[in-house]
Amino acid sequence: MDCFACYVPDMLSPGTTAQADPPAPVVPLPRRRGIEFTLIVLAVLLSVYGYCDVGVARTGSVPPGAVGYGAGLGVLALLAHLAVRVRAPYADPLLLPIGVLLNGLGLVLIYRLDLETPDDPAAPTQLVWSTLGMGLFIAVVVLLRDHRVLQRYTYVSVVSALVLLVLPIFFPSVNGARIWVRVAGFSIQPGEFAKVLLAVFFAGYLAANRNALAYTGRRIWRLQLPTGRVLGPILAIWLLSVGVLVLERDLGTSLLFFGLFVVLLYVATGRTGWIAVGLLLAACGAVAVGWLEPHVHSRVEDWLHPFASIEAGLGPNQLAQSLFSFAAGGMLGTGLGLGHSVLIGFAAKSDFILATAGEELGLAGLSAIFLLYGLLVERGYRASLALRDPFGRLLAIGLASIVALQVFVIAGGVTGLIPLTGMAMPFLAQGGSSVVTNWIIVALLMRLSDSARDRSGTGAATAAATATATATATAEGIEGGGKP
């Protein structure tokens, strides 16, 4: 771990500015690709072990697909690793192994649940989507040489994101939520892809306008409220995304977008007033939606009284079953393949996949999964700290925060911490769009962390100083600019 420390001090000291950087050091930092390779091998072995364990627990023999499964995951991970070696040699060595491990574990859990529902196998489809996701990972790592290119597409991103969000309205609703687009037998959740696009937009917009936004209007006690002029566009975006999502009855994604926006706004401007406004808006939105929208209202009721349906003699609802599932796991879990999380019924493989992990791997396994996500987010934030261009910094934070918020919203939902909102557990849950999106997020974080550490002079780091200066200057001059 000494190599982590070697670059941290000068990059992380508070108050470091672009101008204060030492002039282009020529000693290259360690690339640490060997560590990555070792961890990937471990991640693949762990996943294959889980796969075999399910088979042994259920049928007493290693499942016939174990070799193919292991080889498939291994080859994909290896290709991704090679792509990283060639095109992002300085990238963070933990991101890819964490992605491989979570994706592999997700496939194991879905395969395990498939045994309970032989008519409806989901693991093969998920494997195809995972392959596609890792393919896109490779594509992003290979094709996107410099993340700052994305800043050019700030407004293209927001328009595409809104189109993707609006699209499902024209398709029939599935299980109470209008978030699906069905094309040629494939179900796609455009909202998943919109997350990345919105992160790009927020990062681009805020990087360009952060100083304007930081101008304070009125000051109430210690809160510095923003001026009305800059509040407008932000309110508009908030209304649009929240409005669209309420129409689609997808509260989770709405919560995610809004949380993402508030975090980025705070990091960009440092104004606590934004937090106050954000929380106020969120509170108003939540109360109004929770009160007026029956679908959401019932979720809140379930959260407050998870056993109400049992007392009413209707049997346990999904949340109660989920809680039973976690409780049955205890400290060490029942072991893979030996739990009864299938009692949750509908959505056991997607929204409630974590209950299977909790029951069969116990609190120990669940905590390990949470810590893996925590580590993933932490690596994103670390890359952000090391980057010097505001767009890159904000983008890294945005992407990491998407993962953090999404994990919190869905994991908190199925464990009864917050009202349940349908969302996919990143990498673990069944859902093609989700797994593909998460691989894109990891790929972008790889690119960002590579830029942060590449001091060879050809990479983004040296250019970043100029880019930052330009971006800031533009932002101060032209409202809503953002073209470096």
């Binding site: 992380l12 508070p14 108050g15 470091t16 500015t17 672009a18 101008q19 952060r210 100083n211 930081a214 975090v263 705070y266 990091v267 960009a268 401007t269 440092g270 056993f307 049992i310 049997g315 346990p316 109660a320 809680l323 039973f324 976690f326 409780a327 049955a328 796991g329 205890g330 400290m331 029942t334 009692l343 909790g358 116990g362 609190l363 669940l366 905590s367 949470f370 810590l371 925590g374 932490e378 934030y381 952000s384 700290l385 505001p390 934070i397 990491a400 925060s401 953090a404 918020l405 994990v407 919190f408 994991a411 908190g412 464990t415 009864g416 911490l417 930052t468 200066a469 800031t472 101060e476």
Partner: protein, 492 residues
């Protein structure tokens, strides 16, 4: 200063701290539901995990004569293994049912821990299963039943309503426990709609096939209770010689009342105890009961096991009662097994057994021992003396009286060649103004001529006997069944 100087790093750290807070909230909450509240969630009745685990393995078997009378079949459903029964109706009063929907009763209920594999004694090591989260295979329950006696009793009752209880007097081992009409408990195994229909049908049937008449139904014992009254009279010294006249009138006017008690037979006026017992004189025993008094009769009845509320064999047995808050007239009627005197067939078998076993009543039990799946004994039921019902001297006299009943009295139908048989018949009236069809009773014991001790005591009750009033129906309907059961036990 604004511009590049804005210390974004600081805000990034704040945001990171926020994310860390979310992570901590998740971890704390996971600990809450998986450790702190796990027990209450596990024990929620709506949580089906216990039931799934319970039916996730074959249930242990109940053995009769070394062979299982139960089985398990894999249904492939969520509650996987369903109970099967070999000869279900024959053994239903012993096994009870084990239903996914309606739970368990009788042996299936009383020995559920062993059969389901949850009894901690089945574990190789203490707390082993808590550690491995595994479950022992279901253990087996070895019963004391004699299959030949059981079959003889069941065949003897045929399609009549009634019950038979037989036991080994010297040990208390129950050899037969039959109740008719019976039912097949296998109908209640499983979860499909046929189970619910069977449950409704069996519960609504007028002849109550699920009622275990041998241990859960009390009947007025009628004249068979005269064994108890005779024992009390002999023990109390009210009668010193069974051949002395008893100074009793015929008809006998109940004390403090104008009701006159009569007999079905002649020659009861001032009859000896021997004559009165052999021919079942109501008047004599009513007088003897009054002479013994409430306290003496209560002590005598309690010695045989009446008014005992805690008896388990191992499932609960309904208490047989002898009312002690009575006036003299009621005491007279109670002493001939009427009024509030009520007994289960098992209780009356214990009465016959006490006479056969030198006056001592052994605790009746149905389970010889329980074993693990591979046959190691988990626990064994020891022989215990419940009470001394009467003095050995009284026992000798009562044996003689009961033998007389079979040799020349109302119980000739119970005689078995090559064996000494003692018995007592009874016809119990019931219903409003005794309007119901009388219950035919017979209690007896038998000793093979080449044996030292009686090997079997039995009580038979037939509810819908062909009502030829008088003791004849006890001797006519119930005695042949008792004989068949006793012969089945005596025949090796």
């Amino acid at each position: 200063m604004t511009g590049n100087g804005r210390p974004m790093t600081r805000y990034i750290r704040h945001a990171a701290a926020f994310c860390a807070l979310l992570l901590i909230a998740l971890l704390v909450n996971a600990t809450r539901i998986q450790l702190v509240q796990a027990r209450s969630y596990d024990e929620n009745p709506a949580n089906r995990r216990h039931t799934i685990a319970r039916y996730g393995q074959p249930r242990g078997d109940i053995l009769v004569g070394g062979r299982p009378v139960t089985g398990s079949k894999d249904s492939g459903q969520q509650f996987r293994y369903e109970r099967t029964y070999r000869n279900g109706p024959l053994y239903a009063p012993v096994t009870g049912f084990s239903s996914q929907v309606y739970g368990t009763n009788l042996l299936e209920g009383a020995e559920d821990d062993v059969l389901a594999g949850t009894d901690p004694l089945l574990s190789p090591l203490p707390l082993w299963n808590d550690f491995t989260r595994s479950r022992n295979p279901g253990g087996h329950v070895v019963t004391t039943l004699d299959p030949a006696a059981q079959e003889a009793a069941f065949a003897g009752l045929g399609d009549r309503r009634g019950a038979v209880a037989a036991l080994e007097p010297s040990t208390g081992r129950i050899l037969a426990l039959v109740s008719t009409p019976s039912y097949d408990p296998e109908e209640l195994s499983g979860t499909d709609s046929a189970v619910a229909r069977a449950w409704t049908r069996l519960n609504q049937a007028a002849n109550k096939p699920m009622l275990n008449r041998a241990v859960r139904q009390t009947y007025p014992p009628g004249s068979t209770f005269k064994v108890v009254t005779a024992a009390a009279a002999l023990d109390a010294g009210v009668v010193e010689d069974v051949d002395e006249p008893t100074k009793s009138r015929d008809p006998y006017r109940l004390p403090g009342s104008s009701v006159r008690l009569t007999n079905e037979v002649e020659g009861c006026a001032d009859a000896s105890l021997r004559y009165a017992f052999t021919w079942s004189c109501n008047t004599v025993f009513a007088k003897l009961g009054v002479d013994v008094g409430v306290a003496g009769m209560r002590a005598g009845a309690a010695g045989f096991g009446f008014n005992e509320r805690q008896l388990r064999i191992p499932f609960r047995v309904s208490p047989s009662t002898f009312d002690t808050r009575v006036d003299q007239a009621q005491l007279a009627l109670s002493s001939i097994g009427q009024y509030n005197t009520r007994a289960t067939p098992l209780q009356m078998a214990m009465v016959a057994g006490a006479v056969a076993n030198n006056g001592s009543v052994r605790t009746p039990h149905l389970v010889e021992r329980t074993t693990t799946d591979d046959g190691h004994t988990v626990s064994a039921t020891g022989q215990r003396t419940l009470r001394q019902a009467m003095s050995p001297a009284t026992t000798v006299q009562l044996r003689e009286l009961m033998t007389d009943v079979v040799e020349r009295g109302t119980g000739k139908n119970a005689a078995i060649p090559g064996a000494t048989v003692g018995g007592k018949s009874g016809t119990a009236q019931h219903g409003i103004h005794n309007s119901g069809t009388p219950y035919a009773w017979f209690i007896s014991w038998a000793k093979a001529d080449d044996a030292m001790e009686p090997a079997v005591a039995v009580a038979v009750v037939v509810e819908d006997a062909e009502a030829d009033r008088g003791d004849i129906s006890g001797g006519g309907d119930a005695a042949p069944i008792a004989r068949d059961v006793m012969r089945a036990v005596l025949t090796p």
